[in-house]
Symmetry: C2
Subunit: 237 residues, 2 copies
């Protein structure tokens, strides 16, 4: 069945404009057709189209199913956006498919990209959420200076910073990660974190980690962290 | 230091044409400059340029370092190429970065892509191998009919087939995977494996598995399998 994203569905009983156009113009859905609508906060609504309008498609809610994320312990990745936006976009898409709670684009000393428009990324997250049959959207933050992220007291106590410098003592991420507990992993830019950034992170409880002996690109490291978190959790089930 | 790929380096003492052009024309390397050369079979050579020719760049081997893959137990993924080639290409790139031994493009009943030119993929593998500081190239097979892959007796005994059909009894991949042992994982096309294909695979010792509750795209599932294999292995180190 076709799935749509409408964050305010219970209040408006309307699909947003782009979703309305897709439903009515592209898919040619008509009144009486059944669709699924997710609100991005873990709710799935079985709906019936009541007004096939290509800008404001009206629906009637037939049933409600709570669809919480299937993993336990939130997964947050704070990652410096890559110079090439495609790489950041596919990482966000794949992380959403695998399951992630929050993506914080990091502004670092060595960041090659200092600005990031999140609008396009948000669309990719919506589409990946629908495609992978989830009802919850990851939180996507605006670009945030690393010092602010590090100082954020709302971050969970399980904190890691992936760092490439072999001179720094680092633990193996997979060996120290505690599955099921909220986690935040920071991934640096192409030029890595600066020593000052790593020092500040350590002072705030971040544990320097390595993902092994491959030198991973920024976006690969971010995705690997998400995959590893799921794999290690699911190995225990 | 710049790293080049020259499979026949010990015999020819020359970089291949494209690598020569890159070294001499793009990077403007000159006689006496030091470079690293990998042969794709786990050997890294420290070299010095002896003839800066833009088609046949000659080198002198100064030292040899064996760089075996850092993981134990080969990882083979047999995956149906996606309709959109970009998706297959990034999967191959990322799997190479994380570490994979063999990629077999699978021709299945429901394959949306029936042909695959491996030339471009091979270039992506070379570049990912160099970028992630490896000296060994994954083996990239030509597109192979699934029945032939399943019947291949040289495949390791640890065999999984990822299958989406919830009516089939499946194990959780992460819970049954034995890290460190050679493994082959089959990933189906967008339309999944046919029941006959799954039946045949089971008869040949493949265990039907799921990666969890997210519906992953073909390329995401393939990459997830590689990441999970590394994560589960590295958790034990």
């Amino acid at each position: 069945m076709h799935r749509f994203y409408a964050p305010d569905i219970t209040e408006t009983l309307l699909l947003p404009e782009a979703e309305s156009a897709h439903a009515v113009r592209v898919l040619r859905l008509a009144e009486g057709d059944e669709v699924e609508v997710v609100d991005g906060r873990g709710n799935l609504y079985g709906c019936r189209i009541s007004l096939a309008h290509s800008k404001k498609c009206g629906v009637e809610i037939v049933r409600h199913i709570a669809v919480p994320n299937h993993w336990h312990g939130t997964i947050t990745v704070a990652v410096a956006p890559t110079k090439n936006l495609d790489r950041m976009e596919w990482m966000a898409e794949k992380a959403t498919e695998m399951g992630i709670d929050r993506i914080t684009p990091l502004l670092c000393r060595h960041s090659e990209r200092k600005e990031l428009k999140t609008e396009r990324l948000r669309k990719i997250l919506v589409s990946a959420m629908k495609q992978s049959l989830k009802a919850a959207m990851p939180q996507l933050d605006e670009m945030t200076a690393i010092a602010r992220v590090i100082a954020d007291e709302s971050l969970p106590p399980q904190r890691y910073i992936a760092y490439c410098d072999e001179a720094t003592e680092r633990r193996q991420f997979e060996a120290c990660y505690r599955p099921g507990e909220d986690v935040v992993v920071m991934i640096g830019p192409e030029g890595d974190f600066s020593p000052e950034e790593v020092k500040l992170a350590i002072e705030h409880g971040f544990v320097p980690v390595t993902f092994g002996n491959s030198r991973l690109r920024t976006e690969t490291a971010a995705l690997y962290a998400v995959a590893a978190a799921h794999a290690l959790k699911q190995a225990r089930q």
